[in-house]
Symmetry: C2
Subunit: 142 residues, 2 copies
DNA sequence: CGGTATCCTGAAAGATACTG
DNA sequence: CAGTATCTTTCAGGATACCG
C-alpha cells in the first residue's frame, strides 16, 4: 500500500528536524564557540581568563561568541558592579549538555584524524588524473 | 610540585587535539556535508538521487561536498563506464562512524531546540538595555 | 548523466582604535 | 577590566553556462 520509497529522502532524521540541526551546526561550526565552551568546562571564568586561555581569539570575536552563547542560554554571564569591573562566565546546564554532545565529536576527531589524513595523502598520490572510471568496480580504500 | 594551573587552559581536551577538532568542525560545519552524509545513511545512492533528495543543493555544492568527503575517505565513489554514465556514492566505515557521532549532536538539537528558542525569546524581551549589571548576583535563567 | 569553469555576493571574522 | 565601533579582508557558497 504505502509507496515503497517515494523520493529516497534522508534516512537518519526527518526533514523538519534538519532545521534544528542546521542551527546547531551553524553555531558550533563557527570558529570559537566550541573552543569557548570546552574551555569553560564546568568552571567559572572571567572574560580575561577566557582571552588568556584561548590563543588567537580577538576581543571582538570573544565578545560576539559569548553574546551568542548567552542568547541561546548556553552560558550565563554574571557582572559585578565593582571597580575595576568583573564579569564571570559559566556554562549553564544546557551548555554542559551540549558540551557532552560535542565531546562525542571530539573523540571521533581524535580517534580518526590519522585515518582521514591517510586517505588525504592517498588521494594526493593517486591524483585527480588517476581517479578512475572502470568498467568493473574497483575496491576503493575504506 | 606541579604548578597548580598555569594558565587556566581548556579542560576537556588538550591543545594538540583542538586542531583535529577544528578540522572536523570545519567539515561538518559547512552547509551540506552533514546533509549529504545523513542522506546517504548506509545506502548506495547515485549523484542524481542525492540531488533529488537534498532540496536546495546546487550541482556545484553537491560536487564540492562529495569530493571533500571522498578525499577524507568518508564516502566512496564508484563510477561505471556506461552510457549514460552512472556514479554511485556510499558512506565508508569511517563515514558511518562519523554519522554516529553527528547523530549525538542531532539528538541534542531535537531535544533542546525548544529550550534554546525559549532563551532567545527571553533575551529579546529583556533586551540589551535591560541586561544587567547589579551589585548582587541576579540568578540568570538557566 | 554527471559533472567543470567562471563570476559574483553576503556574511564571518581579523585589525585597529577607542571607552565606561 | 571588559568591552564597543569601524574598517577591511576573506571566502563559502549561489547563479549561470558549458562539457564528455
Amino acid at each position: 500500500m504505502a509507496k515503497e520509497r517515494a523520493a529516497v529522502g534522508p534516512c537518519t532524521s526527518w526533514p523538519e528536524d534538519s532545521a534544528f540541526i542546521r542551527e546547531v551546526l551553524d553555531r558550533i561550526g563557527d570558529k570559537w564557540t566550541v573552543l569557548v565552551l570546552t574551555t569553560l568546562g564546568d568552571r567559572t571564568l572571567r572574560y580575561s581568563d577566557l582571552m588568556a586561555s584561548i590563543p588567537g581569539v580577538s576581543q571582538r570575536m570573544l565578545t560576539v561568541t559569548l553574546k551568542a552563547l548567552e542568547r541561546d542560554g548556553l552560558v550565563a554571564r554574571q557582572a559585578y558592579a565593582e571597580i575595576p569591573p568583573r564579569v564571570e562566565y559559566r556554562a549553564t546546564d544546557l551548555g554542559r549538555s551540549l558540551q557532552r554532545a560535542v565531546l562525542q565529536l571530539s573523540q571521533w576527531a581524535v580517534e580518526n584524524h590519522s585515518a582521514v589524513a591517510a586517505n588525504r595523502a592517498l588521494h594526493e598520490r593517486v591524483g585527480v588524473g588517476r581517479a578512475g572510471v572502470k568498467g568493473a568496480p574497483e575496491a576503493l580504500a575504506e
